[in-house]
Symmetry: C2
Subunit: 174 residues, 2 copies
DNA sequence: AGCAAAATCACCCGGAAGTATGAATCGTTT
DNA sequence: AAACGATTCATACTTCCGGGTGATTTTGCT
């Protein structure tokens, strides 16, 4: 009786180890019950095989082999279920819609270009004449001229085309 | 004797199954020898345990438990080794060095812009004056003027700045 | 309230840009 | 050889651009 209890304890111990192993691996996996159930079933099967094969006496090795196979399968199944997928990084070419132009404010500050001057610069780079710019901004032609003159000074340009080129390089206009 | 051979046959059969199982799984994996070796080692261990534990008589269940644990571990190890990684696609932002400008030849053809005119256009967009362009191309100022006039016609532009703007949109210049 | 920077406008002038027209030269195609 | 387009150059004229100077108004900040 005591002996039998001892054996049972050892078996329980093994069971505990197995369950612990599983728990640790799955943790927040709610399929724990399923695992427990299947393990219990396995142990029943084991006991059944034991009883059955003892009658057939010396099939001991067969028994061991079956156990080995069974638990190998169990291990594989466990691993399949419990391992998190090995992630593989695959670089995939993606079209990046070009960024919507960010004004280079520091350069603006540095050159001392005012808001109005920037407006004139933008319209200039769009290909408008001074007269057209004046019309768009509701100011006189002379005003546009003074703005553009200051602009050329600040950008160190002699012509409007040069000013546009430099401003584009400084990212003041798209 | 015959009986022993029978047992051996059964054991061999199990071994064959195991090996077959592994072969099927790994197939073109050249680590087959390693697996075979480790399995053989396991079976040796098994036999040793068998002999040893039979002396300790009724530790049968402990034996079974150990086998179970061992082969569970084997199964897990096998699965780990043999499963191909589950691939996960992760889009990763990659800097694309901007393409080095490709001339839009079809548009050139369509508009009937000549080689020389393109040269003038490029220098214009660089901010040069007609006089400077004439100097760079070793031609007279008048020549540059005629080229630019034709250019404005073909590009349907009234001013050089407008021509530059349109040409950039048509990818005739960078 | 007062100051500085920004924005507005004006006038003049020289030069650059653009238009119109005509023409010579050269290489390719038919 | 003739035709064509590209390239070259010229003259004359108009329009636009940019420089220089000065002035007034508006706005933001202290």
């Amino acid at each position: 009786m005591v002996d039998k209890m001892g054996i049972l304890n050892v078996k329980n111990h093994i069971l505990v180890i197995q369950v612990f192993f599983m728990r640790k691996a799955i943790l927040r996996n709610r399929q724990l019950l399923l695992y427990g159930g299947s393990l219990a079933l396995l142990l029943f099967l084991l006991r059944w095989l034991e009883l059955r094969l003892i009658i057939f006496d010396h099939s001991f090795e067969v028994y061991i082999g079956a156990i080995a196979l069974l638990f190998t399968a169990l291990g594989i199944w466990l691993a399949q279920k419990l391992t998190r997928p090995k992630t593989v990084l695959v670089e995939k070419q993606v079209f990046v819609p070009e960024q919507p132009f960010r004004l280079n404010e520091p350069e603006m500050e540095k050159l001392g270009i005012s808001r109005r001057e920037l407006e004139v610069l933008e319209l200039m780079s769009a290909g408008l004449s001074n007269q057209e710019i004046a019309g768009k901004l509701f100011v006189s032609l002379n005003t546009v001229k003074t703005h553009s003159s200051r602009l050329f000074e600040k950008l160190d340009a002699k012509r409007r085309t040069q000013a546009i080129e430099k401003a584009k390089k400084l990212r003041l206009i798209p």
